[in-house]
């Protein structure tokens, strides 16, 4: 497990994240142009989605898939309540911000998903291709839970549950890209994969490194500027919540009988926090929340924690748990 942690730590992508973090903590003016950053996240979503779809096309749709998706949805919808309780009553964060952050932690991080699948491949531990569908399904339910939580506290502006708003969330560009590419992958299967392999697969680690360099730069900026607005308790949440999320996920995985590899993935999804799709939804739904808090927690603290400590732990645990 330690060996894996070390190996994870010295993978190029983690080192590029560290390089970005260092550069922005040191106030370098290194930056990735906005259009490139947006392209990279589109690329990652398409690549992940397509590969998931191609896997499902390869293996076929099973009852395991349905169960796993169901588990993912319940996790994503349920974890925000746990996170809110911790933040509000444990860490003393105010109502709206606690709700917004909770929404991020119910949802998932696509890059952390990539990291765990990479680690499993390296360990030759098999997992189900449909876990990408589970990841996609976990993107949004947390958003609605965050809204329910926020609303329960105080009367809020009208129109928040309007059909319009629901459409805004469901047709969010990131989710459409991920699911659309998943469907394309399902339909074109291996034939499609063979033509797109050089771009979507072979070049993936390279693009990922640039993306992680950028994530490091943002995380560093967040930590530099947001340091003061984070109490130690709130910062601590970013390292405790992943373990709790992973524990819940482990329980669900055990209940539905996932394999060791897939269990590790579900745990990682439970442990990770969103920074692509959820922030946009929260700006729309909970404008009073400070976006910097959630971003700094998820990108600056939880993401590296999962990469370095979490993933080796989840894999070790999954191998013990899985039936």
């Amino acid at each position: 497990m330690l060996a894996l942690a070390v190996q994870n730590l010295v993978s190029p992508s983690v080192l590029f994240f560290g390089m970005g973090l260092g550069a922005s903590l040191g106030r370098s003016d290194l930056s990735v142009p906005e259009a490139i950053a947006r392209f990279l996240s589109l690329y990652l979503l398409i690549s992940i989605g397509f590969r998931g779809g191609a896997e499902v096309a390869h293996q076929g749709v099973t009852s395991g898939l349905a169960l796993a998706i169901l588990a993912g949805i319940v996790l994503s919808a349920g974890l925000p309540f746990v996170a809110y309780t911790l933040l509000r009553y444990g860490a003393g964060l105010d109502h709206v911000n606690a709700a917004a952050v909770a929404g991020h932690y119910g949802s998932i991080s696509a890059v952390t998903f990539v990291a765990i699948t990479g680690a499993l491949t390296q360990l030759a531990l098999p997992y189900d291709g449909y876990m990408i569908a589970v990841a996609a399904a976990m993107e949004t339910p947390a958003i609605f839970s965050a809204l329910v939580i926020a609303r329960s506290g105080q009367g809020r502006a009208k129109g928040e549950w309007s059909g319009n708003f629901l459409r805004e969330i469901a047709l969010n560009g990131s989710i459409v890209a991920l699911l659309g590419a998943f469907v394309v992958g399902c339909i074109t299967g291996e034939r499609g994969m063979s033509s797109l392999k050089p771009f979507l697969l072979d070049a993936f680690p390279g693009f990922l490194c640039v993306f992680l360099l950028d994530m490091g730069l943002i995380a560093g900026r967040g930590l530099r500027d947001g340091w003061r607005s984070l109490s130690p308790a709130v910062a601590g949440f970013a390292w405790v919540m992943p373990l709790i999320g992973a524990a819940f996920a482990a329980l669900f995985a055990w209940l539905i009988g996932l394999s060791a590899g897939s269990t590790a993935i579900l745990m990682t999804l439970g442990a990770s926090a969103s920074y692509i799709a959820v922030p946009a939804a929260m700006r729309l739904a909970l404008p009073a929340a400070n976006p910097a808090i959630a971003l700094t927690l998820s990108l600056g603290l939880t993401f590296p924690f999962n990469l370095i400590v979490g993933i080796p732990l989840y894999i070790a645990a999954a191998q013990t748990i899985a039936r």
Partner: protein, 103 residues
């Protein structure tokens, strides 16, 4: 050339809320508006930069709208209903145009 006085409303607004604002402006029947990307800035919510941002919420825009002074108040109401609770800024200035009937 003869010029006619109009008002220019400028709204700095987050990407996530931009579509709401433009939809609402169109509903009120403004004749037009323009949007330009911002590269960064600083306000009560701190400093931010467009470069490198990931996520669908990232980025801000300046939207401006040249309107007749008679419609100014109505539009400001509409704008503030959306912008008030968000990160943003509204300002108004005087401009002159050549074809008054367009606005």
């Amino acid at each position: 050339m003869q010029m006619f006085a109009k008002k220019r409303i400028e709204i700095l607004i987050e990407r996530a809320v931009l579509k709401r604002l433009t939809d609402e402006l169109e509903r009120t029947g403004v004749s037009g508006y323009s949007v330009a990307p911002l590269a960064g800035g600083r306000g009560r919510a701190g400093r931010w930069e467009a470069d490198g941002q990931i996520g669908d919420a990232a980025g801000m825009f300046a939207l401006w709208c040249i309107v007749d002074a008679a419609r100014l108040d109505e539009l400001l109401q509409v704008v503030f209903a959306i912008v008030a609770r968000q990160v943003g800024l509204v300002s108004v200035s005087d401009v002159q145009v050549v074809r008054p009937e367009r606005f």
